[in-house]
């Protein structure tokens, strides 16, 4: 990497930024899920690693969350953006040099931010835990350079039209900058009380709704038509999806605070909008599944399609849960329980991770022009990820329902802890399977880069998957 930092832009091979982002994202995924597995072990076995301040759950929880969001997910997005955006515009990335610096600053900055969190230096607000100087560094040192590269690549494209994926990429990076600027305003302007609570959850909601969800969906809009060779089923439904994300996802933040003393009309407004999150979900899922027409065999045979369609299918329970769990009728029961933890993992580890996984698999093979080192290991990764995730999701959902019952009927806390203990062990087993799968994935991609069979000019990696 160092030789590219000070090289001329035209001397840096196309795709360099994306490859660095791709490997960085996998490494952060291994780190993030490793810490997640460690944290889950502490919940399953209370005597596991006690007596050390820096291994306390309270210090490690947010390190896990932000390593996964800003390390794995966001860097996988950056990888996808820096190779898909130019590909869709029949051009090169606007500046590979800016991209390489972006990778370096992102990795160094995130390491610093997570170290501070680990030391207990935190804003104390969930999801926006990072302190404000680092938030500003993320906005201007990480997100804005990425945005500049994406926007300028779209501006300098060699096509007249802009494909659906690039609408989401260009808008997603713009919106996440706004989310960071506005969502961290309690720290910038020392807001407290309800204002702080509302802005905290506006940030948390919209990091999901205006960054992770639309950008993950954008990747699927590229992967499915590209790998299957089918045309995207409907450009028109793409419009419906895009505008409904922008309109309906940006408004329901108050549904995270249904029992708080916010104005009641704001909660009513947010709750209706919360259900309407199903509108983009229906548009997205129907468009992608209809694009698969005639190519469903690839769901079994092809690694990228297997990952992508699994992610698309997981969008159905994700949005059904998300749409309805925030209504007053249901929220009183599951609020503040493991159900929410399960739902968050359905969004980040289920829906979005499978879509990003496909992008990283496809991108690294395409950019390095090397065939996947081992299809068997890729399938191992897929099944460990899927079974591990499902184990986690189901066990935490059940634990959440137990906690909900305990909360409503005022069951003594220790009795609830005992009742949910088996599910905490299942959570640890599921999380550890995900971590194991990711270690295998890192090995597989590393070996792909080093010894993968070269792909002949004019062929695509997925066309060669079964050829020896």
């Amino acid at each position: 990497m160092l030789k590219y930092l000070f090289a001329k832009n035209e001397d840096i091979p196309p795709g360099t930024t994306a490859i660095f982002f791709g490997f960085s994202s996998i490494i952060w995924f291994v780190i993030g899920t490793g810490i997640g597995s460690f944290n889950a072990a502490k919940l399953a076995f209370p005597d596991f690693v006690t007596g050390y301040e820096y291994f306390a759950f309270g210090k490690m929880r947010q390190v896990h969350v932000l390593a996964v969001i800003l390390g794995w997910i966001s860097m996988a997005f950056a990888m996808a953006m820096t190779y898909i955006t130019p590909a869709l515009g029949n051009t090169r990335l606007w500046s590979e040099k800016l991209g390489v610096w972006n990778v370096l600053i992102w990795n160094v900055g995130l390491s610093l931010a997570l170290t501070l969190l680990w030391m207990g230096i935190s804003s104390g607000r969930e999801y926006s835990d990072i302190i404000w100087p680092i938030d500003l560094a993320i906005i201007f040192g990480v997100l804005f350079p990425l945005g500049a590269n994406v926007w300028m690549t779209i501006v300098t494209r060699r096509t007249q039209g802009i494909y659906t994926t690039n609408w989401f990429f260009g808008t997603g990076i713009f919106m996440v900058i706004i989310v960071f600027l506005v969502g961290n305003s309690p720290e910038f302007f020392n807001l407290t009380g309800l204002s702080e609570a509302y802005m905290t959850w506006w940030f948390a909601h919209n990091v999901l709704g205006l960054w992770i969800t639309p950008v993950a969906a954008a990747i699927a809009y590229y992967t499915v038509p590209k790998v299957t060779g089918n045309p995207l089923y409907s450009h028109r439904i793409g419009h419906l999806h895009f505008w409904s994300v922008v309109i309906f996802y940006s408004t329901p933040a108050a549904h995270h605070l249904m029992s708080a003393p916010l104005p009641e009309w704001l909660k009513s407004f947010a709750s209706v909008e919360g259900v309407l999150i199903l509108v983009p979900a229906i548009a997205f899922v129907s468009n992608l599944l209809l694009t698969m027409t005639g190519k469903w065999h690839m769901f079994v045979e092809n690694v990228e399609i297997k990952f992508t369609i699994t992610g698309v299918l997981l969008a159905i329970p994700l949005n059904m849960q998300g749409g309805f769990q925030q209504t007053r009728a249901i929220n009183w029961y599951i609020h503040g329980t493991g159900w929410i933890v399960a739902h968050a993992h359905l969004a980040l580890l289920g829906f979005s991770t499978f879509l990003e996984g496909a992008a990283v698999y496809y991108g690294i093979q395409t950019l390095l022009r090397r065939k996947l080192y081992s299809l068997t290991l890729a399938n191992f990764h897929f099944w460990f990820l899927l079974i591990g995730f499902c184990t986690y999701w189901i066990s935490m959902t059940i634990a959440g329902l137990i906690q909900g019952a305990g909360k409503i009927y005022e069951v003594p806390y220790i009795d609830v802890v005992i009742a949910e203990h088996p599910y905490m062990i299942a959570r640890w087993v599921g999380g550890t399977m995900v971590f194991t799968g990711n270690v295998v994935w890192l090995y597989n991609m590393w070996m792909t880069a080093r010894v993968g069979t070269e792909i002949p000019v004019g062929r695509l990696p997925h066309e060669l998957a079964y050829e020896r």
């Binding site: 898909i84 590909a87 869709l88 515009g89 029949n90 096509t159 007249q160 039209g161 494909y163 590229y222 038509p225 590209k226 089918n230 045309p231 995207l232 089923y233 409907s234 450009h235 028109r236 439904i237 793409g238 419009h239 419906l240 505008w243 409904s244 309109i247 309906f248 408004t251 029992s259 708080a260 003393p261 104005p263 009641e264 009309w265 704001l266 909660k267 009513s268 407004f269 947010a270 709750s271 209706v272 909008e273 259900v275 309407l276 199903l278 509108v279 229906i282 548009a283 129907s286 209809l290 749409g323 309805f324 209504t327 007053r328 009728a329 249901i330 009183w332 409503i408 009927y409 005022e410």
Partner: protein
């Protein structure tokens, strides 16, 4: 930007612009990706309509609410009635009370039917309801959770005396804003989509 308004549900774009869009659509390669021009399938349109309807219905406080203490106030008042006391069977006592309240007519009739109780339930809440009546509080702000009568876990607007309303609204300006929001959204998306070539036109993907 050529507009036409003679057939708004078919196309909002004039023929020249439609022709240019079709030519571009067929000619241009976006990194090897092709796009079709299919309409939203009818079942999906119905699903979206159902979603919008559901969004309003399910968020209004029709479903899933715990029973308010107020709906049992009339039941509790009849528990010490000599005629009730003279009935030995607990089920018979409740049946008598329910019929007596129903025959008199109660504004809580629908909620009473939705939240039936047994004699043992009434025995558990009786003293608590009487105590709250003595304090003069609004029993619609109290809910029954198992054996307890507790202040509802609901925080509404402030009353003039500074206390908080504990009753869920059936309608407020949040819903009104939503009605307009959804209408604006639907109109805007229909305009965006009707600016495209009509869905009966199938792109050829020539040159891909």
């Amino acid at each position: 930007m050529g507009w036409r308004f003679d057939a708004p549900l078919v196309s909002l774009t004039d023929d020249a612009q439609n022709k240019a869009a079709k030519e571009l659509w067929a000619r241009e390669s976006l990194g090897g990706i092709k796009e079709d021009n299919n309409r939203l399938p009818r079942p999906v349109i119905w699903l979206l309509a159902l979603t919008i309807l559901t969004a309003f219905l399910i968020t209004a406080p029709l479903w899933g609410q715990r029973p308010q203490a107020a709906i049992y106030q009339e039941y509790v008042a009849l528990m010490d009635d000599p005629q009730v006391q003279s009935i030995a069977d607990p089920n018979g006592k409740v049946e008598y009370i329910v019929n007596a309240v129903k025959s008199k007519g109660s504004k809580y009739e629908a909620l009473q039917e939705r939240h039936p109780v047994e004699w043992d339930d009434l025995m558990l809440i009786k003293d608590q309801v009487i105590e709250l009546e003595r304090k003069g509080v609004d029993l619609e702000e109290y809910t029954i959770i198992g054996p307890w009568v507790t202040l509802a876990n609901f925080e509404g607007e402030k009353k003039p005396d500074g206390s908080t309303i504990r009753k869920q609204p059936h309608w407020d300006k949040g819903y009104t804003i939503d009605v307009f929001y959804v209408i604006y959204f639907c109109v805007a998306v229909v305009i965006a989509v009707k600016r495209l070539p009509e869905f009966s036109w199938v792109p050829t993907h020539a040159g891909h």
